[in-house]
């Protein structure tokens, strides 16, 4: 916990430093139309740096020595995070490459997670990875007219 506290507080101070740097560029004083753009961010960031330092002191003096997270407890967290990142990349990868669209990616993601983590029956996996995207599509795309990223499958189906 103590290390995590120190790292987080350090990052907050770094964030404060970056903001102060940009605020100084924008001007932190008084302009023609009142306080300039950097005024508010500057004071926020200055205070954040002070608080970050205080949290560091607090952690050093009284911080608990329990580990932030143990390896076996962190594994399930990663098992959520990594497929989630994969799902986003499948939907629409950053850069010029085309994605599969949200609905297809959601189906693959759901099926993968169900099979990998839950070891569910293949029939249930296939049924849900088709049903969930279709229902989501009907609710958002046709009922509430909220468009989601689409890919080749939707184009092929004429949407």
């Amino acid at each position: 916990m103590r290390v995590a506290d120190l790292v987080t507080a350090g990052l907050l101070m770094l964030l404060g430093g970056v903001v102060i740097y940009d605020a100084a560029r924008l001007g932190i004083g008084w302009g023609i139309e009142g306080p300039r753009s950097g005024f508010f961010p500057f004071w926020l960031a200055a205070l954040l740096v002070v608080i970050g330092a205080a949290v560091c002191v607090q952690a050093l003096l009284w911080g608990s020595r329990h580990p932030f997270v143990t390896r076996e407890r962190f594994l399930p967290v990663l098992k959520v995070l990594v497929p989630l990142a994969g799902f986003i990349v499948l939907t629409d990868p950053p850069g010029p490459w085309p994605g599969l669209g949200l609905y297809v990616a959601a189906g693959i993601y759901l099926g993968f997670y169900m099979r990998w983590v839950g070891r569910h029956d293949w029939r249930a996996v296939v049924a849900l990875s088709i049903a969930v995207p279709v229902i989501t599509f009907l609710i958002f795309e046709t009922w509430f007219l909220v468009p989601m990223p689409k890919g080749p499958v939707e184009t092929w189906l004429g949407y």
């Binding site: 987080t8 508010f40 961010p41 569910h120």
Partner: protein, 506 residues
């Protein structure tokens, strides 16, 4: 004049479409409240994009109904599964889960729902009378008064939040800093973008809410390896009626809980301390304090009444001052802006049908809500019996859809992921998330109020002290800020370790 307006409101709330919307909202809200990782704030945020095409009054009825539903849903998981869906349901688990284990879950649930209803109803009645008065006062407010109130809002997180005051302050500052990213409307300059076009749009609080509360919560619950092993619901008409016969005995606890809830609730972050305070008071004044924690029905009545009174009271500052009292109210406030309404006292002048429709819908929504949860508890409880490996990706997909829908942009889904990790780390390190979200929502308003005040005073901060109303509010705010410093001194002076109101707030 008040009654006429309320009748006008009921005409709005009682249209078949709006009643239908309320039923849907309660249904969705209760499901959201039951599901891990989806709470009131987050559920409202995800469904906000669906309301863009609705008339504003129906939209707010949908969102508030989701909120009521989520409040009810929290009690179901606390009692049956010993999992508080929301922080303010923690106190409900103390006696709710023991009762459920003893086979009295029907009584426990009935008591919880009834108390929630009573607490909420009490607050709604008070809102009906106080909202117009408060709005009238607020109409005379200038930028210094509004800034002072925002200052007070954040000071109460530091002073009354119960967590680490330094970390509360850090959360507030982070929220404000994130809100300044992007175009500064006053000067037209780009701030903190460092040449990245994606940063020009800034950070949307909806995405922050979904990430921090939704994804963060899921990461926490998989880390803790939660197993949902629930007690049977055991609800039927007989149990409900029998419990209703006992409940009037606790009228003192109801009244006390409702007052504590309302009083704490219209200040931000009030619902959780209110529920604990109410529980502590009920225990102190009970003839059988030793029964608390072992399945005493009064131990459910006290926190539930207070939590719901507080949850409803959070709406009061949102509609009268434009300052949300809770993260969920903050998301609703964001909705108001998106629907083209100006939150704050002018609502009562410009959009009376909206405000009074909202207030009237609080009456109808809570009546519909309590009936629905009493009838359908087994259905809602069965949701938690869906295997975790299906629930987790399902909730994540819903979160991603909600994040994307805000601006139709992929970057928001990535932000959701980043905010999710941030929420996980912050929650573990005891940085409170609610003030961060509130600061992100109120950032622009606060900064503008500050700028205008400073322009009025030509740069002198004295303006926040010399104007009578602003001065009084600022004084209270400063008191709250120093409260964490003076409390230990005060205790040492009095020689008592802790009093009822200072029992653990977490």
């Amino acid at each position: 004049m008040g009654i006429d307006n309320l009748l006008l409101g009921f005409q709005v709330a009682f249209t078949p479409f709006n009643l239908f919307i309320a039923v849907i909202g309660i249904l969705l809200g209760t499901i959201i409240g039951v599901l891990p990782g989806l709470g009131g704030a987050n559920g409202v945020a995800i469904l906000l994009p669906l309301t863009f095409t609705m008339p504003p009054t129906s939209a707010i009825i949908l969102l508030t109904s989701i909120y009521w539903g989520a409040l009810f849903g929290g009690a179901i998981t606390s009692i049956l599964f010993n999992i508080p869906g929301e922080p303010w349901s923690v106190a409900t688990t103390f006696d709710g889960y023991p009762m459920a284990k003893q086979g009295q879950s029907g009584q426990a649930l009935t008591a919880a729902f009834t108390s929630s209803f009573v607490g909420a109803f009490f607050s709604i009645v008070l809102i009906t009378f106080f909202a117009p008065l408060l709005a009238e006062v607020a109409l005379k407010f200038g930028p210094p008064e509004f800034f002072a109130i925002q200052f007070l809002t954040f000071s109460s997180f530091v002073g009354l939040g119960g967590g680490n005051p330094l970390k509360s302050l850090a959360s507030i500052l982070i929220g404000f800093i994130l809100s300044t990213v992007g175009l500064d409307i006053v000067t037209g300059q780009l701030r903190l973008t460092f040449g990245f076009t994606d940063l020009m749009k800034g950070f949307d609080f909806i995405v922050a809410v979904i990430g921090l509360f939704g994804i963060g919560e899921i990461l926490l619950s998989v880390e803790e390896g939660l197993q949902f092993q629930g007690a049977k619901t055991g609800m039927n008409m007989r149990v409900v009626l029998d419990t209703w016969k006992i409940l009037p005995r606790y009228y003192r606890t109801f009244v006390r809980g409702a007052f504590i809830g309302f009083w704490m609730g219209f200040k931000p972050g009030g619902a959780t301390p209110a529920s604990f305070m109410s529980y502590a008071f009920a225990k102190r004044f009970s003839k059988h304090p030793e029964r608390f924690g072992k399945g005493e029905i009064e131990g459910i009545v006290a926190p539930e009444t207070a939590a719901h009174a507080a949850g409803v009271a959070a709406i009061l500052p949102m509609i009268t001052l434009g300052i949300p009292g809770s993260p969920t109210a903050a998301v609703m406030l964001g909705g108001l802006i998106i629907w083209g309404l100006q939150p704050g006292p002018m609502l009562f002048v410009d959009n009376p049908d909206f405000v009074w429709g909202l207030i009237a819908s609080m009456y109808t929504g809570n009546v519909i809500g309590v009936i629905m949860v009493l009838l359908f508890v087994p259905f809602f409880a069965s949701i938690l019996r869906i295997p975790f490996a299906i629930l987790t990706p399902l909730i994540i997909v819903i979160c991603a859809v909600g994040s994307y829908a805000v601006h139709n942009s992929m970057i928001d889904i990535w932000y959701m992921l980043i905010f999710g990790v941030l929420g996980y780390v912050f929650k573990k390190l005891d940085y409170p998330l609610a003030p961060l979200v509130l600061a992100l929502v109120l950032g622009d308003l606060s900064e503008n109020a500050l700028r205008q005040s400073l322009i009025m005073s030509q740069g002198s901060l004295a303006i926040f002290f010399t104007r009578p109303i602003a001065g009084a509010i600022t004084a209270v705010a400063i008191f709250f800020f120093v409260l964490p410093i003076i409390t230990p001194w005060w205790r040492r002076l009095k020689g008592s370790p802790a009093s009822a109101s200072q029992t653990p707030l977490h």
